[in-house]
């Protein structure tokens, strides 16, 4: 199931091209120019790590579009006839969504690591683990939305709004000290904040931050659980087969 989801993403070159282009422009045009204007030193470095985190969240959301489309086009019925248990099916979807997001951002992460000189293998591996956890949790969130919203138009814009909200109201792209108080009070609880604070702590110092890891794990458990429960309910009416 996971391999199929990975292949599905890489069979849609348009999505890969547009998101890749967005990353390149954000990093090499926007971040370069804005870092000359802002009052924070090292803002480019800050933004570069954050742009990877926001890209992981963005790609992880795509699994919801796939699941919604499959249900609309009747492919889901075919998938359910395959010889895999429902539990394997759901975990496979979530795992596939997370792994493909990680595969997708790895070259971008490599570019940022080279530019910024991140060379500690242990820190890089631990930062990748943070990215994986974020991707896993966002996949669960996306599946939850995909099986809860019925209208195609609503689903499309609602998911885009959710993506915008959890990325913008987080510490991915700017430090919390510069946010207006109404955003600063909620930003620390965004899963994207947990991931970006944790990854920055690993890559730029001081090291592993257990509080961000705990926050991210809680997000994964809650939304993966919810996503699985909602998806299962949609497939089997809540009755375990």
């Amino acid at each position: 199931m996971a391999r199929r989801d990975i292949e599905v993403l890489f069979r849609t070159p348009w999505i890969i091209i547009s998101r890749g282009l967005a990353f390149i422009i954000q990093l090499f045009v926007f971040a370069t120019l804005i870092s000359r204007l802002v009052s924070v030193s090292g803002f480019f470095q800050y933004y570069a790590v954050g742009s990877i985190i926001s890209m992981v969240a963005s790609i992880s959301f795509i699994i919801g579009y796939d699941i919604f489309e499959e249900a609309e086009e009747g492919v889901l019925d075919y998938l359910l006839t395959l010889p895999v248990s429902r539990r394997q099916f759901i975990i496979g979807r979530a795992l596939g969504g997370a792994i493909r997001a990680l595969i997708y951002v790895t070259p971008m992460f490599a570019v940022v690591a080279i530019i910024e000189g991140f060379a500690q293998p242990a820190s890089l591996a631990a930062a990748m683990a943070y990215l994986f956890l974020l991707a896993f949790g966002v996949t669960g969130l996306s599946i939850t939305v995909a099986v809860s919203v019925r209208s195609a138009n609503r689903f499309d814009v609602f998911l885009a709004l959710m993506e915008l909200a959890i990325v913008r109201a987080s510490t991915a792209l700017y430090p919390i000290s510069f946010m207006p108080s109404y955003v600063a009070s909620i930003a620390p609880f965004s899963p994207v904040s947990f991931a970006s604070n944790g990854a920055r702590s690993l890559l730029l110092g001081p090291g592993l931050d257990l509080s961000t890891l705990a926050g991210l794990l809680a997000f994964v458990v809650v939304f993966l659980g919810l996503g699985a429960a909602f998806y299962f309910r949609k497939l089997e009416g809540g009755v375990y087969a």
């Binding site: 967005a22 804005i34 204007l37 802002v38 009052s39 709004l161 946010m179 109404y182």
Partner: protein, 254 residues
Amino acid sequence: MTALADNFRIASNIVQRDIKILFSDSFLVAIMFANFAIDLFVTAATFGRLVPPSSGIPSYFQFIAPGSNFVTCSVAAFQSGRDIWRERYIKDLTSYLLSLPASRRLWSVSRVAGGVARSLIATFPGTLTICYLYGILLDPRILGAFSIVGLFSLGVVGISMAVSAYASSIEVFVTVRSTVQLYFSFFSTLFFSPDVFPSFLRPIVLANPMTWAVEAFRQLSKPGVGLGPASVLVVPSLAFAALGTIVYLYHNQL
């Protein structure tokens, strides 16, 4: 005279139909405003604090605020093209629409007008918010603000109608939309003044309709109405609207 009145009545029916499609799900309009609110009150407000007046821009928040509204405007304008794409490929309505008593040329022009009307409605609260921030809410210059938004959306509706004719799948349509929006946002003066860009990028920035839309809006904060940037915007807007009209017309000559 009767023919003119008939044409006007039909055109107004087509525009009304497009507006009704927009409001068939008012949730979507609310979400568009929510997007604008996040852009303005989260992202722009934070960058406004990050960029100090010593950068040469007295208030960066006010500087980038009109951009949030124009981004929403381009989303709303592209929604028109998307609806036309859905009519053609998903709902298979083209033949039915062509059987209605309206000439194809009138249909085409009215669809563009409908798209502009929808964009103006979708950005209405946003335009009022930016006018409030610019201190022109109770000033005749507010009419200039709506004219600039309408002019910008005219061009984007044209682009979206042209794209909808050639996009073979919704993925292609969405990708072109994202690419155009990337160009609008990052290669314009939405975030930076032109002198901040490297010299090789400046021609691209100056050719961007978003540049002239935000510059025209920024002019409104000054006393008197400066028509310079707005008059530059007229050319690409009319050109893209003409392109959208012609492409729509061409693709409906079954």
